[in-house]
Symmetry: C2
Subunit: 301 residues, 2 copies
Protein backbone atom coordinates (compact mmCIF):
# COMPACT_ATOMS: atom_id res chain seq x y z
CA UNK A 1 0.00 0.00 0.00
CA UNK A 2 2.28 2.65 1.36
CA UNK A 3 5.83 3.37 2.41
CA UNK A 4 7.05 1.80 5.66
CA UNK A 5 10.76 2.44 5.14
CA UNK A 6 12.86 4.83 3.06
CA UNK A 7 13.43 2.06 0.50
CA UNK A 8 9.70 1.38 0.29
CA UNK A 9 9.12 5.09 -0.26
CA UNK A 10 11.50 5.27 -3.20
CA UNK A 11 9.92 2.15 -4.69
CA UNK A 12 6.43 3.59 -4.20
CA UNK A 13 7.37 6.77 -6.07
CA UNK A 14 9.02 4.79 -8.89
CA UNK A 15 5.98 2.50 -9.20
CA UNK A 16 3.71 5.54 -9.62
CA UNK A 17 5.40 6.24 -13.00
CA UNK A 18 3.99 3.07 -14.55
CA UNK A 19 0.97 4.80 -16.13
CA UNK A 20 2.94 7.32 -18.19
CA UNK A 21 2.18 7.13 -21.91
CA UNK A 22 5.59 8.60 -22.83
CA UNK A 23 8.22 5.95 -22.13
CA UNK A 24 11.22 8.31 -22.42
CA UNK A 25 9.63 10.84 -20.04
CA UNK A 26 8.86 8.04 -17.59
CA UNK A 27 12.45 6.79 -17.82
CA UNK A 28 13.87 10.26 -17.13
CA UNK A 29 11.54 10.77 -14.17
CA UNK A 30 12.37 7.32 -12.78
CA UNK A 31 16.08 8.07 -12.93
CA UNK A 32 15.53 11.54 -11.47
CA UNK A 33 13.60 10.13 -8.50
CA UNK A 34 16.18 7.39 -7.95
CA UNK A 35 19.12 9.78 -7.85
CA UNK A 36 17.25 12.58 -6.03
CA UNK A 37 16.19 10.20 -3.25
CA UNK A 38 19.74 8.82 -3.07
CA UNK A 39 21.02 12.38 -2.62
CA UNK A 40 18.53 13.23 0.13
CA UNK A 41 19.31 10.00 1.98
CA UNK A 42 23.08 10.17 1.67
CA UNK A 43 23.04 13.83 2.77
CA UNK A 44 20.59 12.88 5.57
CA UNK A 45 18.93 16.21 4.80
CA UNK A 46 17.22 17.92 7.74
CA UNK A 47 13.87 19.74 7.37
CA UNK A 48 15.70 23.06 7.78
CA UNK A 49 18.20 22.20 5.04
CA UNK A 50 15.38 20.98 2.80
CA UNK A 51 13.56 24.30 3.35
CA UNK A 52 16.73 26.23 2.46
CA UNK A 53 16.86 24.22 -0.75
CA UNK A 54 13.20 24.98 -1.53
CA UNK A 55 13.78 28.69 -0.93
CA UNK A 56 16.94 28.72 -3.03
CA UNK A 57 15.25 27.03 -6.01
CA UNK A 58 12.31 29.44 -5.69
CA UNK A 59 14.69 32.42 -5.77
CA UNK A 60 16.48 30.98 -8.82
CA UNK A 61 13.14 30.66 -10.64
CA UNK A 62 12.09 34.15 -9.66
CA UNK A 63 15.41 35.65 -10.81
CA UNK A 64 14.64 34.46 -14.37
CA UNK A 65 13.38 37.08 -16.83
CA UNK A 66 13.21 37.45 -20.62
CA UNK A 67 16.87 38.51 -20.46
CA UNK A 68 18.23 36.31 -17.70
CA UNK A 69 18.17 32.54 -17.19
CA UNK A 70 19.35 31.88 -13.65
CA UNK A 71 18.56 28.13 -13.87
CA UNK A 72 20.93 27.80 -16.84
CA UNK A 73 23.52 29.68 -14.80
CA UNK A 74 22.96 27.21 -11.96
CA UNK A 75 23.31 24.31 -14.38
CA UNK A 76 26.47 25.90 -15.84
CA UNK A 77 28.15 26.50 -12.48
CA UNK A 78 27.41 22.96 -11.27
CA UNK A 79 28.93 21.47 -14.43
CA UNK A 80 25.60 20.05 -15.62
CA UNK A 81 25.50 22.04 -18.86
CA UNK A 82 29.02 20.90 -19.76
CA UNK A 83 28.06 17.30 -18.97
CA UNK A 84 25.12 17.55 -21.39
CA UNK A 85 27.50 18.92 -24.06
CA UNK A 86 29.93 16.03 -23.56
CA UNK A 87 27.17 13.41 -23.68
CA UNK A 88 25.75 14.94 -26.87
CA UNK A 89 29.12 14.80 -28.62
CA UNK A 90 29.71 11.22 -27.40
CA UNK A 91 26.38 10.16 -28.90
CA UNK A 92 27.28 11.78 -32.25
CA UNK A 93 30.67 10.05 -32.29
CA UNK A 94 29.11 6.69 -31.40
CA UNK A 95 26.47 7.09 -34.11
CA UNK A 96 29.12 7.95 -36.69
CA UNK A 97 31.70 5.36 -35.64
CA UNK A 98 29.93 2.28 -37.02
CA UNK A 99 30.32 2.89 -40.79
CA UNK A 100 33.61 4.77 -40.51
CA UNK A 101 35.34 2.06 -38.50
CA UNK A 102 34.96 -0.07 -41.67
CA UNK A 103 37.18 2.28 -43.68
CA UNK A 104 40.95 2.20 -44.10
CA UNK A 105 41.67 5.91 -43.66
CA UNK A 106 43.16 6.65 -40.22
CA UNK A 107 40.82 8.83 -38.19
CA UNK A 108 41.49 11.80 -35.95
CA UNK A 109 38.98 12.96 -33.39
CA UNK A 110 36.51 15.76 -34.07
CA UNK A 111 37.09 19.13 -32.39
CA UNK A 112 35.75 19.02 -28.86
CA UNK A 113 32.50 20.77 -28.06
CA UNK A 114 31.82 23.10 -25.16
CA UNK A 115 28.92 25.13 -23.80
CA UNK A 116 26.91 27.57 -25.92
CA UNK A 117 26.61 30.12 -23.10
CA UNK A 118 23.93 32.80 -22.72
CA UNK A 119 25.21 35.32 -25.29
CA UNK A 120 24.45 33.65 -28.62
CA UNK A 121 22.45 36.03 -30.84
CA UNK A 122 20.98 34.48 -33.95
CA UNK A 123 21.26 36.24 -37.29
CA UNK A 124 24.75 37.79 -37.19
CA UNK A 125 25.73 39.36 -40.54
CA UNK A 126 27.66 37.21 -43.03
CA UNK A 127 31.05 38.83 -43.57
CA UNK A 128 33.64 38.14 -46.29
CA UNK A 129 36.72 36.10 -45.49
CA UNK A 130 39.34 38.32 -43.90
CA UNK A 131 36.82 40.89 -42.56
CA UNK A 132 37.29 42.72 -39.29
CA UNK A 133 34.18 41.55 -37.41
CA UNK A 134 34.78 43.89 -34.44
CA UNK A 135 35.38 47.37 -35.93
CA UNK A 136 35.40 49.96 -33.16
CA UNK A 137 35.13 47.32 -30.43
CA UNK A 138 37.38 47.82 -27.42
CA UNK A 139 40.28 45.36 -27.27
CA UNK A 140 43.55 44.30 -28.85
CA UNK A 141 43.26 43.35 -32.54
CA UNK A 142 43.73 39.68 -33.32
CA UNK A 143 44.11 37.80 -36.59
CA UNK A 144 42.27 34.45 -36.40
CA UNK A 145 42.95 31.76 -38.99
CA UNK A 146 42.84 28.03 -39.60
CA UNK A 147 41.08 25.33 -41.54
CA UNK A 148 37.91 23.30 -41.25
CA UNK A 149 38.34 19.65 -42.23
CA UNK A 150 36.52 16.42 -41.54
CA UNK A 151 38.08 13.80 -39.28
CA UNK A 152 39.87 12.31 -42.32
CA UNK A 153 41.59 15.66 -42.89
CA UNK A 154 39.56 16.44 -46.02
CA UNK A 155 38.84 20.19 -46.28
CA UNK A 156 35.25 21.29 -45.73
CA UNK A 157 34.52 24.09 -48.22
CA UNK A 158 31.71 26.53 -47.44
CA UNK A 159 31.52 25.63 -43.76
CA UNK A 160 29.74 28.41 -41.89
CA UNK A 161 31.49 29.79 -38.79
CA UNK A 162 29.15 31.71 -36.49
CA UNK A 163 31.52 33.74 -34.29
CA UNK A 164 30.97 35.89 -31.19
CA UNK A 165 32.89 37.15 -28.16
CA UNK A 166 32.89 39.84 -25.51
CA UNK A 167 35.02 42.93 -25.94
CA UNK A 168 38.46 43.59 -24.50
CA UNK A 169 36.88 44.44 -21.14
CA UNK A 170 34.82 41.22 -21.05
CA UNK A 171 31.44 42.71 -22.00
CA UNK A 172 29.13 41.30 -24.68
CA UNK A 173 27.00 43.57 -26.85
CA UNK A 174 23.85 41.90 -25.39
CA UNK A 175 24.80 43.08 -21.91
CA UNK A 176 24.42 46.72 -22.91
CA UNK A 177 20.77 47.86 -23.08
CA UNK A 178 19.75 48.68 -26.64
CA UNK A 179 23.19 47.95 -28.12
CA UNK A 180 23.57 46.70 -31.70
CA UNK A 181 25.47 43.55 -32.61
CA UNK A 182 29.23 43.85 -32.12
CA UNK A 183 32.10 41.36 -32.38
CA UNK A 184 29.73 38.94 -34.15
CA UNK A 185 29.72 37.62 -37.70
CA UNK A 186 29.24 34.60 -39.89
CA UNK A 187 32.16 33.64 -42.16
CA UNK A 188 32.37 30.87 -44.77
CA UNK A 189 35.46 28.74 -45.42
CA UNK A 190 37.03 28.86 -48.88
CA UNK A 191 37.46 25.93 -51.29
CA UNK A 192 40.35 24.60 -49.19
CA UNK A 193 38.36 24.84 -45.96
CA UNK A 194 40.40 27.86 -44.82
CA UNK A 195 39.06 30.74 -42.76
CA UNK A 196 40.57 33.98 -41.51
CA UNK A 197 39.16 37.11 -39.95
CA UNK A 198 40.02 39.91 -37.53
CA UNK A 199 38.45 40.48 -34.14
CA UNK A 200 39.76 41.31 -30.66
CA UNK A 201 41.54 39.21 -28.06
CA UNK A 202 38.86 38.29 -25.50
CA UNK A 203 39.46 38.69 -21.80
CA UNK A 204 38.09 37.01 -18.68
CA UNK A 205 34.82 38.13 -17.09
CA UNK A 206 32.49 37.08 -14.26
CA UNK A 207 29.15 35.35 -14.73
CA UNK A 208 26.30 37.40 -13.14
CA UNK A 209 26.74 37.32 -9.34
CA UNK A 210 23.91 39.61 -8.23
CA UNK A 211 21.42 36.72 -7.93
CA UNK A 212 21.02 33.50 -5.92
CA UNK A 213 23.63 31.60 -7.99
CA UNK A 214 26.16 34.32 -7.20
CA UNK A 215 25.39 33.90 -3.49
CA UNK A 216 25.80 30.12 -3.88
CA UNK A 217 29.23 30.56 -5.48
CA UNK A 218 30.18 32.89 -2.63
CA UNK A 219 29.13 30.34 -0.01
CA UNK A 220 31.16 27.71 -1.85
CA UNK A 221 34.22 29.96 -1.79
CA UNK A 222 34.29 29.95 -5.60
CA UNK A 223 35.17 32.83 -7.91
CA UNK A 224 32.65 33.53 -10.73
CA UNK A 225 35.06 34.10 -13.64
CA UNK A 226 35.42 32.61 -17.07
CA UNK A 227 38.82 32.82 -18.81
CA UNK A 228 39.03 34.76 -22.10
CA UNK A 229 37.42 32.87 -25.01
CA UNK A 230 35.80 33.33 -28.40
CA UNK A 231 32.70 31.32 -29.34
CA UNK A 232 32.22 29.50 -32.64
CA UNK A 233 29.44 27.41 -34.12
CA UNK A 234 30.73 25.46 -37.11
CA UNK A 235 28.09 24.12 -39.50
CA UNK A 236 28.50 22.31 -42.81
CA UNK A 237 26.08 20.07 -44.74
CA UNK A 238 26.75 16.37 -44.11
CA UNK A 239 28.64 17.06 -40.88
CA UNK A 240 27.70 17.08 -37.20
CA UNK A 241 27.21 20.71 -36.06
CA UNK A 242 29.89 21.87 -33.62
CA UNK A 243 29.43 24.30 -30.72
CA UNK A 244 32.81 25.26 -29.34
CA UNK A 245 35.07 27.99 -27.97
CA UNK A 246 38.75 28.87 -28.29
CA UNK A 247 40.39 29.79 -25.00
CA UNK A 248 43.26 32.24 -24.60
CA UNK A 249 46.26 30.35 -23.16
CA UNK A 250 47.52 31.92 -19.92
CA UNK A 251 44.30 33.91 -19.46
CA UNK A 252 43.46 34.38 -15.79
CA UNK A 253 41.14 31.59 -14.61
CA UNK A 254 42.15 29.27 -17.47
CA UNK A 255 42.46 26.50 -14.85
CA UNK A 256 39.23 27.26 -13.01
CA UNK A 257 36.52 28.29 -15.49
CA UNK A 258 33.38 28.97 -13.41
CA UNK A 259 31.29 26.92 -15.87
CA UNK A 260 33.84 24.12 -16.51
CA UNK A 261 33.87 24.79 -20.26
CA UNK A 262 37.67 24.77 -20.85
CA UNK A 263 39.05 21.69 -22.58
CA UNK A 264 42.82 21.36 -23.10
CA UNK A 265 42.41 20.84 -26.84
CA UNK A 266 40.64 24.21 -27.15
CA UNK A 267 43.34 26.31 -25.48
CA UNK A 268 45.15 28.38 -28.11
CA UNK A 269 48.41 30.31 -27.87
CA UNK A 270 47.78 33.92 -28.89
CA UNK A 271 51.06 35.15 -30.43
CA UNK A 272 52.02 38.80 -29.94
CA UNK A 273 53.19 40.85 -32.93
CA UNK A 274 54.73 44.30 -33.31
CA UNK A 275 53.15 46.86 -35.65
CA UNK A 276 53.74 45.90 -39.28
CA UNK A 277 52.21 43.82 -42.05
CA UNK A 278 49.87 40.97 -41.09
CA UNK A 279 49.67 37.63 -43.00
CA UNK A 280 46.67 38.92 -45.03
CA UNK A 281 48.60 42.05 -46.08
CA UNK A 282 46.85 44.37 -43.62
CA UNK A 283 49.08 47.18 -42.35
CA UNK A 284 48.90 47.31 -38.54
CA UNK A 285 50.03 50.54 -36.88
CA UNK A 286 49.72 49.10 -33.36
CA UNK A 287 50.64 45.75 -31.75
CA UNK A 288 48.38 42.84 -32.65
CA UNK A 289 47.90 39.13 -31.87
CA UNK A 290 47.41 36.05 -33.99
CA UNK A 291 45.55 32.85 -33.11
CA UNK A 292 45.54 29.76 -35.28
CA UNK A 293 43.20 26.81 -34.89
CA UNK A 294 41.94 24.03 -37.14
CA UNK A 295 38.48 22.57 -36.64
CA UNK A 296 37.65 18.93 -37.42
CA UNK A 297 34.03 18.00 -38.01
CA UNK A 298 32.49 14.58 -37.52
CA UNK A 299 30.73 13.31 -40.67
CA UNK A 300 26.98 13.00 -40.03
CA UNK A 301 25.80 9.41 -39.51
CA UNK B 1 43.56 21.66 -15.57
CA UNK B 2 40.24 20.90 -17.13
CA UNK B 3 37.79 18.13 -17.90
CA UNK B 4 38.74 15.66 -20.63
CA UNK B 5 36.10 13.03 -19.83
CA UNK B 6 32.74 12.96 -18.02
CA UNK B 7 34.46 11.51 -14.93
CA UNK B 8 37.04 14.28 -14.99
CA UNK B 9 34.26 16.83 -15.23
CA UNK B 10 32.49 15.50 -12.13
CA UNK B 11 35.79 15.45 -10.26
CA UNK B 12 36.59 19.02 -11.37
CA UNK B 13 33.24 20.27 -10.03
CA UNK B 14 33.68 18.40 -6.74
CA UNK B 15 37.22 19.76 -6.34
CA UNK B 16 35.91 23.34 -6.73
CA UNK B 17 34.05 22.97 -3.38
CA UNK B 18 37.30 22.78 -1.42
CA UNK B 19 37.33 26.48 -0.53
CA UNK B 20 33.97 26.55 1.22
CA UNK B 21 34.16 27.78 4.81
CA UNK B 22 30.97 25.92 5.80
CA UNK B 23 31.76 22.19 5.90
CA UNK B 24 28.12 21.02 6.05
CA UNK B 25 27.16 23.22 3.08
CA UNK B 26 30.17 21.91 1.15
CA UNK B 27 29.18 18.32 1.99
CA UNK B 28 25.59 18.86 0.79
CA UNK B 29 26.78 20.48 -2.43
CA UNK B 30 29.32 17.70 -3.05
CA UNK B 31 26.62 15.06 -2.66
CA UNK B 32 24.21 17.07 -4.81
CA UNK B 33 26.76 17.36 -7.63
CA UNK B 34 27.65 13.67 -7.37
CA UNK B 35 24.04 12.48 -7.63
CA UNK B 36 22.96 15.15 -10.13
CA UNK B 37 25.81 14.24 -12.49
CA UNK B 38 25.00 10.55 -12.03
CA UNK B 39 21.38 11.27 -13.03
CA UNK B 40 22.35 13.27 -16.12
CA UNK B 41 24.78 10.55 -17.23
CA UNK B 42 22.52 7.58 -16.57
CA UNK B 43 19.63 9.33 -18.35
CA UNK B 44 22.06 10.32 -21.17
CA UNK B 45 20.15 13.59 -21.22
CA UNK B 46 19.97 15.35 -24.60
CA UNK B 47 20.28 19.15 -24.93
CA UNK B 48 16.54 19.31 -25.77
CA UNK B 49 15.62 17.31 -22.65
CA UNK B 50 17.93 19.45 -20.54
CA UNK B 51 16.26 22.59 -21.90
CA UNK B 52 12.82 21.17 -21.07
CA UNK B 53 14.07 20.62 -17.54
CA UNK B 54 15.39 24.19 -17.30
CA UNK B 55 12.07 25.56 -18.54
CA UNK B 56 10.07 23.35 -16.17
CA UNK B 57 12.09 24.43 -13.11
CA UNK B 58 11.76 28.08 -14.18
CA UNK B 59 7.98 27.70 -14.43
CA UNK B 60 7.86 26.05 -11.00
CA UNK B 61 9.77 28.97 -9.49
CA UNK B 62 7.57 31.52 -11.22
CA UNK B 63 4.38 29.78 -10.04
CA UNK B 64 5.42 30.48 -6.42
CA UNK B 65 3.68 33.36 -4.66
CA UNK B 66 3.05 34.40 -1.04
CA UNK B 67 0.19 31.90 -1.04
CA UNK B 68 1.54 29.10 -3.17
CA UNK B 69 4.76 27.08 -2.93
CA UNK B 70 5.03 25.07 -6.14
CA UNK B 71 8.54 23.78 -5.30
CA UNK B 72 7.21 22.20 -2.10
CA UNK B 73 4.43 20.67 -4.19
CA UNK B 74 7.08 19.30 -6.55
CA UNK B 75 9.03 17.93 -3.59
CA UNK B 76 5.82 16.42 -2.16
CA UNK B 77 4.75 14.73 -5.39
CA UNK B 78 8.22 13.24 -5.96
CA UNK B 79 8.28 11.79 -2.45
CA UNK B 80 11.16 14.02 -1.35
CA UNK B 81 9.22 15.78 1.43
CA UNK B 82 8.14 12.42 2.87
CA UNK B 83 11.73 11.18 2.69
CA UNK B 84 12.88 14.21 4.72
CA UNK B 85 10.15 13.46 7.30
CA UNK B 86 11.26 9.83 7.60
CA UNK B 87 14.93 10.76 7.95
CA UNK B 88 14.09 13.35 10.64
CA UNK B 89 12.18 10.80 12.70
CA UNK B 90 14.95 8.21 12.26
CA UNK B 91 17.50 10.70 13.60
CA UNK B 92 15.31 11.44 16.65
CA UNK B 93 14.89 7.73 17.36
CA UNK B 94 18.62 7.10 16.97
CA UNK B 95 19.44 10.02 19.28
CA UNK B 96 16.99 8.72 21.90
CA UNK B 97 17.85 5.03 21.60
CA UNK B 98 21.20 5.22 23.38
CA UNK B 99 20.01 5.85 26.96
CA UNK B 100 16.69 4.02 26.56
CA UNK B 101 18.27 0.83 25.28
CA UNK B 102 19.89 0.64 28.75
CA UNK B 103 16.51 0.43 30.49
CA UNK B 104 14.46 -2.66 31.29
CA UNK B 105 11.03 -1.39 30.24
CA UNK B 106 10.00 -2.92 26.88
CA UNK B 107 9.70 -0.19 24.28
CA UNK B 108 7.10 0.35 21.60
CA UNK B 109 7.79 2.56 18.64
CA UNK B 110 6.73 6.18 18.55
CA UNK B 111 3.80 7.14 16.31
CA UNK B 112 5.02 7.55 12.75
CA UNK B 113 5.44 11.02 11.34
CA UNK B 114 4.19 12.27 7.99
CA UNK B 115 4.24 15.48 5.98
CA UNK B 116 3.09 18.85 7.39
CA UNK B 117 1.43 19.90 4.13
CA UNK B 118 0.73 23.46 2.98
CA UNK B 119 -2.34 24.19 5.16
CA UNK B 120 -0.92 24.56 8.67
CA UNK B 121 -2.07 27.88 10.19
CA UNK B 122 -0.31 28.86 13.38
CA UNK B 123 -2.31 30.16 16.32
CA UNK B 124 -5.50 28.06 16.26
CA UNK B 125 -7.70 28.67 19.34
CA UNK B 126 -7.26 26.39 22.36
CA UNK B 127 -10.51 24.52 22.91
CA UNK B 128 -11.64 22.49 25.93
CA UNK B 129 -11.56 18.71 25.81
CA UNK B 130 -14.67 17.43 24.08
CA UNK B 131 -15.28 20.62 22.07
CA UNK B 132 -16.68 20.59 18.55
CA UNK B 133 -13.80 22.21 16.66
CA UNK B 134 -15.73 22.41 13.36
CA UNK B 135 -19.09 24.00 14.18
CA UNK B 136 -20.97 24.84 11.00
CA UNK B 137 -18.33 23.18 8.82
CA UNK B 138 -19.64 21.01 5.97
CA UNK B 139 -19.17 17.30 6.57
CA UNK B 140 -20.26 14.31 8.63
CA UNK B 141 -19.71 14.73 12.39
CA UNK B 142 -17.01 12.56 13.91
CA UNK B 143 -16.03 11.85 17.51
CA UNK B 144 -12.21 11.61 17.79
CA UNK B 145 -10.63 10.10 20.90
CA UNK B 146 -7.54 8.34 22.20
CA UNK B 147 -4.56 8.75 24.45
CA UNK B 148 -1.11 10.26 24.25
CA UNK B 149 1.59 8.17 25.94
CA UNK B 150 5.34 7.87 25.71
CA UNK B 151 6.93 4.80 24.16
CA UNK B 152 6.85 3.09 27.58
CA UNK B 153 3.07 3.49 27.66
CA UNK B 154 3.19 6.19 30.37
CA UNK B 155 0.42 8.78 29.84
CA UNK B 156 1.51 12.25 28.75
CA UNK B 157 -0.70 14.77 30.57
CA UNK B 158 -1.10 18.25 29.08
CA UNK B 159 0.18 17.26 25.64
CA UNK B 160 -0.95 19.86 23.11
CA UNK B 161 -2.70 18.55 19.99
CA UNK B 162 -2.76 21.08 17.15
CA UNK B 163 -5.47 19.79 14.83
CA UNK B 164 -6.64 20.80 11.34
CA UNK B 165 -8.39 19.31 8.34
CA UNK B 166 -10.34 20.23 5.24
CA UNK B 167 -14.11 20.17 5.26
CA UNK B 168 -16.41 17.38 4.04
CA UNK B 169 -15.85 18.54 0.45
CA UNK B 170 -12.06 18.53 0.79
CA UNK B 171 -11.53 22.30 1.10
CA UNK B 172 -9.41 23.97 3.79
CA UNK B 173 -10.36 27.35 5.26
CA UNK B 174 -7.09 28.78 3.88
CA UNK B 175 -8.18 27.99 0.34
CA UNK B 176 -11.09 30.41 0.56
CA UNK B 177 -10.05 34.07 0.15
CA UNK B 178 -10.57 36.00 3.38
CA UNK B 179 -12.05 33.03 5.29
CA UNK B 180 -11.63 32.71 9.06
CA UNK B 181 -10.15 29.64 10.75
CA UNK B 182 -12.40 26.59 10.57
CA UNK B 183 -11.93 22.95 11.58
CA UNK B 184 -8.82 23.96 13.55
CA UNK B 185 -8.10 23.94 17.25
CA UNK B 186 -5.59 23.15 19.93
CA UNK B 187 -6.64 20.63 22.61
CA UNK B 188 -4.75 19.49 25.71
CA UNK B 189 -4.75 15.92 27.03
CA UNK B 190 -6.10 15.32 30.56
CA UNK B 191 -4.18 13.85 33.52
CA UNK B 192 -4.43 10.36 31.99
CA UNK B 193 -3.18 11.56 28.60
CA UNK B 194 -6.68 11.25 27.12
CA UNK B 195 -8.09 13.49 24.41
CA UNK B 196 -11.47 13.71 22.70
CA UNK B 197 -13.11 16.22 20.43
CA UNK B 198 -15.64 16.53 17.62
CA UNK B 199 -14.87 17.52 14.05
CA UNK B 200 -15.89 16.24 10.62
CA UNK B 201 -14.83 13.18 8.66
CA UNK B 202 -12.33 14.45 6.10
CA UNK B 203 -12.57 13.50 2.45
CA UNK B 204 -10.07 13.17 -0.39
CA UNK B 205 -9.04 16.17 -2.47
CA UNK B 206 -6.60 17.03 -5.27
CA UNK B 207 -3.37 18.97 -4.80
CA UNK B 208 -3.31 22.10 -7.02
CA UNK B 209 -3.10 21.01 -10.67
CA UNK B 210 -3.31 24.34 -12.47
CA UNK B 211 0.49 24.82 -12.46
CA UNK B 212 3.59 23.07 -13.83
CA UNK B 213 3.49 20.29 -11.20
CA UNK B 214 -0.08 19.48 -12.24
CA UNK B 215 1.11 19.21 -15.85
CA UNK B 216 3.96 16.95 -14.72
CA UNK B 217 1.54 14.64 -12.89
CA UNK B 218 -0.62 14.54 -16.03
CA UNK B 219 2.34 13.57 -18.21
CA UNK B 220 3.20 10.84 -15.70
CA UNK B 221 -0.34 9.46 -15.90
CA UNK B 222 -0.76 10.16 -12.17
CA UNK B 223 -3.87 11.39 -10.36
CA UNK B 224 -3.34 14.36 -8.01
CA UNK B 225 -5.46 13.22 -5.05
CA UNK B 226 -4.79 12.77 -1.38
CA UNK B 227 -7.02 10.38 0.61
CA UNK B 228 -9.10 11.82 3.48
CA UNK B 229 -6.97 12.72 6.49
CA UNK B 230 -6.84 14.93 9.58
CA UNK B 231 -3.57 16.63 10.58
CA UNK B 232 -2.16 16.68 14.09
CA UNK B 233 0.93 18.16 15.68
CA UNK B 234 1.51 16.61 19.10
CA UNK B 235 3.79 18.55 21.43
CA UNK B 236 4.71 17.88 25.05
CA UNK B 237 7.68 19.06 27.13
CA UNK B 238 10.45 16.45 27.29
CA UNK B 239 9.20 14.64 24.18
CA UNK B 240 10.12 14.75 20.50
CA UNK B 241 7.49 16.84 18.64
CA UNK B 242 5.33 14.79 16.30
CA UNK B 243 3.89 15.91 12.94
CA UNK B 244 1.40 13.36 11.75
CA UNK B 245 -1.94 12.66 10.11
CA UNK B 246 -4.74 10.12 10.60
CA UNK B 247 -6.03 8.63 7.37
CA UNK B 248 -9.59 7.46 6.79
CA UNK B 249 -9.51 3.72 6.04
CA UNK B 250 -11.16 2.89 2.71
CA UNK B 251 -10.99 6.51 1.57
CA UNK B 252 -10.53 6.78 -2.20
CA UNK B 253 -6.82 7.03 -3.03
CA UNK B 254 -5.75 5.52 0.32
CA UNK B 255 -3.36 3.30 -1.67
CA UNK B 256 -2.02 6.04 -3.93
CA UNK B 257 -1.65 9.31 -1.99
CA UNK B 258 -0.27 11.88 -4.45
CA UNK B 259 2.32 12.98 -1.85
CA UNK B 260 3.17 9.51 -0.43
CA UNK B 261 2.18 10.54 3.10
CA UNK B 262 0.06 7.49 4.04
CA UNK B 263 1.67 5.03 6.44
CA UNK B 264 -0.17 1.82 7.37
CA UNK B 265 0.08 2.59 11.09
CA UNK B 266 -1.78 5.88 10.57
CA UNK B 267 -4.82 4.43 8.79
CA UNK B 268 -7.81 4.50 11.14
CA UNK B 269 -11.20 2.76 10.83
CA UNK B 270 -13.95 5.35 11.06
CA UNK B 271 -16.94 3.55 12.64
CA UNK B 272 -20.45 4.58 11.53
CA UNK B 273 -23.12 5.22 14.17
CA UNK B 274 -26.86 5.82 14.01
CA UNK B 275 -28.42 8.92 15.66
CA UNK B 276 -28.35 8.57 19.47
CA UNK B 277 -26.10 9.26 22.41
CA UNK B 278 -22.33 9.54 21.81
CA UNK B 279 -19.69 8.32 24.33
CA UNK B 280 -19.33 11.84 25.76
CA UNK B 281 -23.08 12.07 26.33
CA UNK B 282 -23.75 14.31 23.33
CA UNK B 283 -27.20 13.67 21.74
CA UNK B 284 -26.77 13.20 17.99
CA UNK B 285 -29.87 13.66 15.83
CA UNK B 286 -28.11 12.54 12.66
CA UNK B 287 -25.66 9.73 11.81
CA UNK B 288 -22.09 10.23 13.06
CA UNK B 289 -18.70 8.54 13.00
CA UNK B 290 -16.08 7.71 15.58
CA UNK B 291 -12.33 7.43 15.19
CA UNK B 292 -9.98 6.20 17.90
CA UNK B 293 -6.21 6.53 17.87
CA UNK B 294 -3.46 6.54 20.48
CA UNK B 295 -0.29 8.56 19.95
CA UNK B 296 3.09 7.50 21.32
CA UNK B 297 5.79 10.14 21.73
CA UNK B 298 9.54 9.54 21.76
CA UNK B 299 11.22 10.91 24.90
CA UNK B 300 13.58 13.74 23.97
CA UNK B 301 17.27 12.77 24.08
Amino acid sequence: MTPMTEDDLTQAVLARMAESTDPRFAEIMRLLVKHLHAFVREADLTPEEWMHGIQFLTQVGQACTDKRQEFILLSDTLGVSMMVVMLEQLRAVRAGKGPKAQGTVPMTEATEATVLGPFYWEGAPESPLGADIAPGVKGEPTFYSGRVTDTRGEPVAGALLDIWSGDGDGFYDMQIEGAEMAARARIRTDADGRYWFWSIRPTYYPVPVDGPVGRMLGAMGRHPNRPGHIHLLVNAPGHVPLTTQLFVANSPYIDSDAVFGVRPSLVVDFEPHQPGTAPDGRRMDRPWWSAHHDFRLERAA
